[in-house]
Every structure is written in structure tokens, then in C-alpha cells.
């Protein structure tokens, strides 16, 4: 009889059943709709196994997935390792050739801060509000990094919200960008910036690390790894390291990241009213960020004859390179020979750095 008592079937709760449905939905979206499959698939499966009773998978000190979570995320190992890979993938050329577009990446962070204040005013603690606001930066690893430190109980919800909205960038952003721009503005062809030489690209990660980390030391884990990856890339002498950082290593840690984030989402933690708020506020953050980027571009146009196509401002939220693709697509809809992709990559990458800095500021003030 003992074996029957230890069967999970009898320990199922209705909440677990609901979580199974959420898990299956995420796996469906990942596989059939290709919504961020690299993350949502392991997250979806992680949710399923975390909501099977009596497994102890997430039992502190003994569970398998708990170990992944503890040493990977609580110890802040995985998000910085992902940033190493992102650095190795990033070409700072577009950002350096039009430095004024960095402001658009900064403006889009307004979504993060505004949502932080909205979230505190509806009753979230400051730490929770920071984790929710950062969703608006549309950067997965940064959201995970910050939520794990400030509000681990919300980690699963914040991560899923961030990755879902990143996948939904092509649906969420265009209506806002269309609303805020005229047909003629969308047709603006931008003048190319100067070409960036190899030496500038080589010096940039070193100088940027020093400057950013001196200003916001709490951003160091992410910025240092990001710039190290970029230094690998631009040095052109360690191609093996560049390759490993941007492919194998990133893929390996992504597996452990996805499954352990999914596993933090048990019924008790996730099926709460606040989670609906988190998804709603995260979306608000993201929409505000899109809008403020576009609006700043329009304001900058008042002061310059070298016009900026305001669509480019929409790429100031990170979501690299999805947001830049949206800009390219909308620019081509207005004029099929208008190519904004590379212009949009500047604010897009600046947006990543801006979000990391925002996370560093929250950590400094609240951590």
C-alpha cells in the first residue's frame, strides 16, 4: 500500500492542473508560433515538472532543478554568462557612427522608471516594483538578474512576461509607432554616419566598461561580461573564444536558465492576483518605452536639419534585434527603398546598456 500512498496522482491540487495548462500553452507558443522558443520551451517544461507533486525537484538543498536555480541564478552566474555571449554577438558600429541616437535608447528607459512608480502606487514593494518596471527594458537576462536579487518570488512571472513581450514586439510596437508618426516622417531617409574603424571598435569595450562601471558599479557583472565578449569579438585574435561565448556556452547556460526559471513557477507562487498585474504593468512599461523613444526622436528633429526618422526611436527598448526589425519593416512600408535597420541598431544596443544601467541604479538604491 505504501507505494500507492507515494504516488503523485493523489497529491495533485487544482492549482497544479492550472499550471499544467499554462505550461502546455507556453510550449505550444514556443513550438507552433516560434515565440522565443529557445527560452519559452525549457521554461514551459520547467513549469510542468515543478507542478508534479512529491518530486522534491525544487527542494532547497537536495532537488536537481533547485541546484540549477541556486548555483545558476541565485549565484548570479547565468545572466552575466549570457551577456558575455551577447557582447560577442554585438557590433557597436551602428551605435558609434551615430552617437546622438544613444539618447533614444536612454529615452526608452522612461518606461522602466514610470512603471516603477505606477507599480509602487498600486501596492507593490519598491523591490517588486523595480523587478516589474525592468520588464519594460525588454531584456531577458537583465530582468532575471534584477528580479532574482530584489524579488525572487516574482522571478518566474517577470521572466515570462519579459520573454513573451519580446516575442510580441512585432505586434505591440507598430500601432504605437504608427499613432505617433506621420506618413511623411516614416518616409524620412536618414543620412549615413561615418564608417567606424577597427581600432575604434577595439577601444570601445574597454573605455565603455571603465566609464559605465565607474558611474554605476552595481551594473558591473553584466556590463563587464558584455564588454569582455565584445572585446573578444573586436580583438579578432581569439575567434575560438568568441565562437564559444556566442554559441555553445550561451546555448548551454540557456538550457539551465530556462528550465530552472520555469520550475520557480509553482501554483502557490504563480496563481496570485499580483501576477496579472505584473503582466499588465510589464506591457505598460514596454508601450511607454516605445512611445518615449519615438517622441524624443521627434523632439530632436526640432533642433537639427539632419532629420531622424522617428520610427528609429521605437528601437530604444532593447529587444535586440526584434525592435530594429520592426523599424526596418515599417520604414519599408512607407517607402520601399528606405532602410532603417542599421540606424535602428544604434538605439537598440544603447537600449540594452540603458536597461543594465537602470538595473544597476535599482540595485544601488534598493539592494
Amino acid at each position: 500500500m505504501a507505494i500507492i500512498e507515494h504516488m503523485g496522482v493523489f497529491a495533485m491540487t487544482p492549482g497544479m492542473g492550472v499550471m499544467w495548462l499554462i505550461s502546455l500553452t507556453l510550449m505550444y507558443l514556443a513550438i507552433h508560433k516560434k515565440y522565443e522558443p529557445l527560452l519559452l520551451l525549457p521554461i514551459g517544461f520547467g513549469i510542468l515538472i515543478a507542478n508534479l507533486p512529491l518530486t522534491n525537484l525544487m527542494e532547497p538543498g537536495e532537488g536537481l532543478i533547485w541546484r540549477f536555480y541556486h548555483y545558476g541564478i541565485e549565484w548570479e552566474v547565468i545572466p552575466p554568462v549570457i551577456f558575455l555571449g551577447l557582447g560577442a554577438l554585438t557590433d557597436f558600429g551602428p551605435l558609434l557612427s551615430q552617437p546622438r541616437l544613444i539618447f533614444l535608447g536612454a529615452a526608452a528607459q522612461a518606461g522602466v522608471y514610470i512603471t516603477f512608480f505606477i507599480a509602487t502606487s498600486v501596492g507593490f514593494t519598491l523591490e517588486e516594483a523595480a523587478a516589474i518596471g525592468i520588464i519594460g527594458g525588454a531584456d531577458g537576462p537583465t530582468t532575471i538578474f534584477l528580479a532574482a536579487k530584489l524579488a525572487p518570488q516574482l522571478l518566474g512571472a517577470c521572466a515570462v512576461a519579459a520573454y513573451s513581450y519580446m516575442a510580441l514586439v512585432p505586434i505591440i510596437q507598430p500601432p504605437i509607432m504608427r499613432l505617433l508618426t506621420t506618413e511623411n516622417e516614416r518616409k524620412i531617409k536618414m543620412i549615413k554616419g561615418r564608417k567606424i574603424g577597427a581600432r575604434e571598435k577595439l577601444v570601445f569595450p574597454v573605455v565603455a566598461s571603465v566609464l559605465i562601471i565607474l558611474l554605476v558599479p552595481a551594473s558591473a557583472p553584466l556590463i563587464a561580461m558584455f564588454m569582455l565578449g565584445n572585446l573578444f569579438r573586436e580583438s579578432k585574435v581569439v575567434e575560438r573564444l568568441t565562437d564559444t561565448a556566442q554559441s555553445s556556452l550561451m546555448n548551454i547556460v540557456t538550457i539551465f536558465l530556462g528550465v530552472s526559471i520555469g520550475a520557480t513557477m509553482n501554483a502557490e507562487n504563480f496563481l496570485r492576483q499580483e501576477v496579472i498585474f505584473i503582466f499588465f504593468l510589464g506591457l505598460v512599461a514596454f508601450m511607454i518605452g516605445t512611445a518615449t523613444g519615438v517622441i524624443l526622436a521627434k523632439i530632436m528633429n526640432l533642433f537639427t536639419s539632419n532629420k531622424i526618422n522617428p520610427l528609429v526611436g521605437g528601437a530604444g527598448v532593447s529587444a535586440v534585434p526584434m525592435a530594429a526589425r520592426v523599424v526596418q519593416k515599417m520604414g519599408m512600408e512607407a517607402d520601399k527603398k528606405n532602410h532603417l535597420l542599421m540606424f535602428a541598431m544604434g538605439p537598440n544596443i544603447a537600449g540594452v546598456i540603458g536597461t543594465v544601467i537602470a538595473a544597476g541604479i535599482f540595485l544601488t538604491l534598493l539592494g
Binding site: 526589425r325 526596418q328 519593416k329 520601399k336 527603398k337 532602410h339 542599421m342
Partner: protein, 71 residues
């Protein structure tokens, strides 16, 4: 008068729709360049005949590279 067809963006040549000798019209789609997983069409700048094609499928192009010449 010969006119150059330039790649608007750095990327990989994904599709080549024309051959040397083909007659094309302005705004015909000549190539597709893939950049950041986006397929970006390259259109003909004018009416004419394709005099030269300097890339093939899979080639890497830089921004402003001349990839074909229309006569």
C-alpha cells in the same frame, strides 16, 4: 548609361532573381539580402539590361557594395 546596384545593408545574398542579359524595369526586385534574419529586397534603380552581376547566392556583402550593374 550604366548604373550601379548597391547593397543597402551589410548581409548575405539570399536570393538572386536576375541573370546577365535580363531586361529589368525600375523598382523590379533583383536580389534579396539577408541581414539580422530579415529578408531585404534590393530593387533596380532604373530601366535597362543587366550588364553585370558581381555576387552569387551566399556571398557576404558590405553596405554600399556594388552588386550589379544595369545598362
Amino acid at each position: 548609361m550604366a548604373q550601379d546596384v548597391q547593397a543597402a545593408l551589410a548581409g548575405n545574398v539570399w536570393k538572386v532573381y536576375v541573370e546577365v542579359g535580363d531586361t529589368v524595369e525600375e523598382d523590379d526586385e533583383l536580389f534579396v539580402v539577408e541581414a539580422l534574419k530579415m529578408e531585404i529586397p534590393v530593387y533596380s534603380p532604373c530601366d535597362g539590361k543587366v550588364a553585370e552581376i558581381r555576387v552569387k547566392k551566399g556571398d557576404t556583402v558590405e553596405e554600399d557594395d556594388v552588386i550589379a550593374v544595369i545598362d
